[in-house]
């Protein structure tokens, strides 16, 4: 196997390196990469889309179709994790719950019996780890700022580095931090699996919905220019508005999916026990 791998690697690498001789020198402004399409993007991008951040302009407008499917890829991964991992394990006999307000521990024999108000109780299982006060407090303080920053990144995507993906990931990270510092259950108590699922769907629906709205308004799919009919914005910035809209959708989807993937992988699909 190793020898075979070596041979394959050498052949591929040799081919690739051999071909580099025809490349234009690195950073040469006259290379076709810089002369064919990019001048148009750079010089016209701002006028055509109204987004100074050209990367966002190309990402969300010129190649918005790509980006939609990029979001779909994330979405797909999330659903795939649910499909593969999510399991409902049998309730074991004899579970112990701690009543969070009082700290009273109670023991339940009957596997089918449910608690009348489960939000106040938390299951005590073998994976149980006692909390560390410092970590809890620090993350409790940090998380709001992280989330504010995430929103900023999303909202400001078309002016400065950033956008839906980045913002969504940061927001998801804040929730994952919560899950790490407290435990999975308490993070799921704040944002339930159902909510995550619906949010992930909502995000992509927002994106494609905007596109279809443009279609209904007589344009092509994702032709934001048409949105002038329903949005009271000056035509120069209407496309930027459309981009903002799709970025928000992306933000939702990515955030939700990040948390979904984390929760499923971290708990092997058994959400009721944390790390």
């Amino acid at each position: 196997m190793k020898q075979l791998g070596l041979i394959i690697v050498i052949i591929c690498g040799g081919l690739l390196l051999y071909a580099t001789q025809d490349f234009p020198a690195w950073g040469d402004p006259t290379a076709p990469v810089h002369t064919h399409l990019s001048p148009h993007f750079i010089t016209e991008g701002l006028h055509e889309t109204g987004a100074p951040n050209l990367v966002t302009a190309v990402l969300a407008d010129y190649r918005g179709y790509d980006t939609m499917f990029e979001t779909v890829v994330v979405f797909c991964a999330g659903i795939a994790c649910i499909l593969l991992l999510r399991t409902f394990v049998q309730r074991t006999r004899g579970r112990e719950y701690r009543h969070t307000p009082t700290g009273v521990v109670l023991h339940i024999q009957d596997p089918d019996k449910d608690l009348n108000n489960p939000r106040e109780f938390e299951l005590i299982d073998n994976m149980w780890v006692p909390h560390d006060l410092i970590i809890k407090t620090v993350s409790r303080m940090l998380i709001p700022f992280i989330q504010i920053f995430a929103l900023y990144v999303v909202a400001h995507g078309d002016f400065s580095p950033g956008g839906g993906f980045q913002g969504g990931v940061i927001f998801g990270a804040s929730l994952i931090l919560l899950a790490l510092s407290f435990d999975l259950r308490s993070s799921l108590r704040r944002i339930s699996e159902k909510m995550l699922g619906i949010l992930s769907a909502l995000g992509v629906i927002i994106y494609s919905g905007i596109g279809i709205a443009c279609m209904l308004l007589g344009g092509n799919f994702l032709d934001y220019g048409r949105l002038t009919a329903i949005l009271p914005v000056d035509p120069d910035h209407i496309r930027a508005m459309g981009m903002l809209g799709v970025e928000i959708g992306v933000g939702f989807a990515v955030m939700a999916v990040m948390v979904i993937i984390y929760t499923n992988i971290a708990s092997q699909g058994r959400h009721q026990q944390g790390l």
Binding site: L6, V33, V55, A80
Partner: protein
């Protein structure tokens, strides 16, 4: 020989990234542990991402965000194509990053399933256990 050297010096970025790719590919083929294969896979994909990004670079140009594009005063003054680097590769690679992340997620999920079934991630042991079943 010297011209080869100059060749390499001129395009050292491509050389580096291709070598990096091949390291990743080799790891994917030759490693025995599934996680290590996965790491190799990520090296491979990351190297490709770097490869693309580097092709967007242009001498003495800056990141593709129009200076002072906020207020719209830039909307009137003409923009030189030579000022800014090519935004397209960045866009493409944003997508590629997301794709690789998604693939990684699914792969990890599968690895968890495999571990639940066979209690090992070493390929040879896996083969043995599969035969036993």
């Amino acid at each position: 020989m010297p011209d080869l050297l100059t060749e390499i010096v001129n395009k050292y970025n491509y050389w580096l990234y291709i070598i990096l790719m091949m390291i990743g590919l080799y790891a994917m083929i030759a490693k025995n542990n599934l996680i290590k294969k996965l790491v190799g896979m990520n090296i491979f994909q990351t190297a490709i991402i770097l490869f693309f990004i580097s092709m967007g670079y242009k001498d003495n140009a800056t990141i593709p965000i129009i200076m002072g594009g906020h207020g719209g005063e830039a909307a009137h003054k003409t923009i030189e194509a030579s000022q800014y680097i090519n935004p397209l590769p960045h866009v493409l690679m944003l997508t590629a990053i997301v794709v690789s992340v998604a693939t990684l997620g699914v792969a990890l999920a599968l690895i968890i399933l495999i571990y639940q079934r066979y209690q090992t991630l070493e390929e040879d042991e896996l083969r043995m256990r599969v035969k036993q079943k």
